[in-house]
């Protein structure tokens, strides 16, 4: 059954890559041939690779919401999917593996395009620092977490919940906002706990002044690395829940 998911994910990845290439081409054109009254500095700049990774992670999260809810999406096809000589767990894992590889591919596409576009001018330099590996792991953890949370939230029912991949963005931002404001007991505590499972809350904030600042915005009082580990743990847990729910579903 992974073949059907490969075809679905491939189509989304091609659209995603085509849009990324188009945006990069437009950006390159305006930087190379800026309008007469525009001031564009594109020589001798330091381009921090951490920022490129953060950019890639954000767009990989968009890709994650495009391929998420794959088990729920397959609910229309269960009489076909579940009558093959493969266990439901194996089928679910093959779906998730294809989707995860697609998310990683989308991340690689964005990072590659950004690196080429930003480093192309001969005098620009890509810079790396001690945070690069941390940023790489966080940039991958957030899209994977979003994907798995949507899977877990939608895999238990044969009813179509395919829009969940898109809805998680406004819901996630709203939840993060509600956690920030001072709400009375017990609402504040409820939103705090819910926000732990909100992938949007784990998107790092990148500011670029004289140097790059990466701020962690997780609901948990942990350092950047600790939050990333929590996000990856939620990813694994949510994948297990999604598989269990899907296996138990009646159709």
């Amino acid at each position: 059954m992974y073949y059907a998911e490969i075809l679905y994910a491939r189509r989304r990845l091609l659209i995603f890559a085509a849009v990324a290439v188009l945006v990069a081409a437009v950006f390159t054109y305006f930087v190379t041939f800026p309008p007469p009254n525009a001031h564009v500095v594109n020589n001798g700049q330091d381009v921090p690779f951490d920022a490129v990774l953060g950019f890639g992670g954000f767009f990989a999260t968009i890709m994650a919401s495009m391929v998420a809810a794959s088990m729920n999406r397959s609910s229309l096809h269960l009489p076909y999917v579940w009558t093959k000589p493969a266990s439901r767990e194996r089928t679910a894992l093959s779906y998730m593996l294809v989707d995860i590889l697609t998310i990683l591919a989308a991340f690689a596409v964005v990072v590659a395009i950004c690196s080429i576009v930003l480093a192309l001018p001969p005098r620009n330099r890509m810079t790396f620092d001690h945070q690069t590996l941390l940023m790489l792991s966080r940039s991958l953890a957030v899209p994977l977490m979003l994907y798995a949370v949507v899977e877990a939230a939608t895999s238990w029912t044969p009813r179509r919940l395919a829009a969940a991949g898109g809805l998680i963005w406004p819901i996630g931002f709203a939840l993060d906002f509600l956690t920030e404001i001072n709400l009375p007991f017990p609402l504040a505590q409820v939103f705090f706990v819910l926000n732990i499972f909100n992938p949007i809350a784990y998107i790092p904030t990148i500011r670029f002044h004289s140097h790059l600042e990466i701020s962690a915005s997780s609901p948990l009082p942990l350092d950047f690395n600790g939050q990333t580990i929590v996000a990856l743990c939620i990813f694994v847990l949510a994948c297990c829940i999604a598989t269990y729910n899907w296996r138990r579903m009646q159709a």
Binding site: M1, Y3, A4, Y8, P79, W82, T83, K84, A251
Partner: protein
Amino acid sequence: MNPAPPVIAFDNLTKRYRNFEAVHDLTLHIQAGSICGLLGPNGAGKTTAMKTLLGFLRPTSGSTAVDGAPVTPQTFEYLSYVPETDALFGELTVAQHVELNRLSQPRHDESRAQELLGVFGLDRRKRVRKLSKGQKTALALVLALASKPRVLVLDEPSSGLDPVFQRVVLDLLIDAASEGGTVLFSSHQVGQVERAADHVAIMRGGRLLVYSDVDSLKGQEKIIEATFPSSIPDLNGALRVDAVRRIDHAGNMVRISVRKDDGEIAQRLAPYNPTSIRVVDRNLEDIFLDVVSEKN
């Protein structure tokens, strides 16, 4: 000698959804090489019974088995299912579905698949969402039969097909059974069951009302058709016999359903001077309508 164990077995199966009992205490055994037609009006419990057999639904009580054991993923190496609803992938082409079947079914026979695509005239490049309902049914059948299954479970297998392809489907089922396969199929069309099935099960309201082989079921009752020259005389006195189940009038003809025909009814009609008397088998449609319209 013990009879061979059934290939498909429902034992005291009950499936309840909250307050609604979709299937009640269904016991049905289908032997190898048999084609069983499952008949019943909408809501009779046919699809629920099939879905429970295949493991899509958990039984409330009772059990189901294929080859003496509950269905596992390995069962689907030799069991194919054609669902009532369109379960194919709309975005995939016909050829991609065949490829999907090849990758997921160890027993997939590519030459058989191509042969069947030709039989149904399916365009390999067409996306499934652009196929008609009948073509989707045909593709589902192609995929099911391309795996050379030993057990076939089909829910309304000729739904949406034109009469020519309906006949093709029935012939394919008969071929499958003649090669030792076991077929369970549901249908609203009694004629299809009569043509293809050797056994018939009739359900209504979740209960199995009749399960019998088709020939003996039809032989259990006869219809005596007596035609009179003008109007039908008053026959009430003559037909007050235990064997008579039902009397229908149609113009100047009277149709009498009898449990057995030993010539007594014909003798009783003779004094009324009918122009003709003939004894015919009841067809399955008559039996089906009688069964589902009977109270309780």
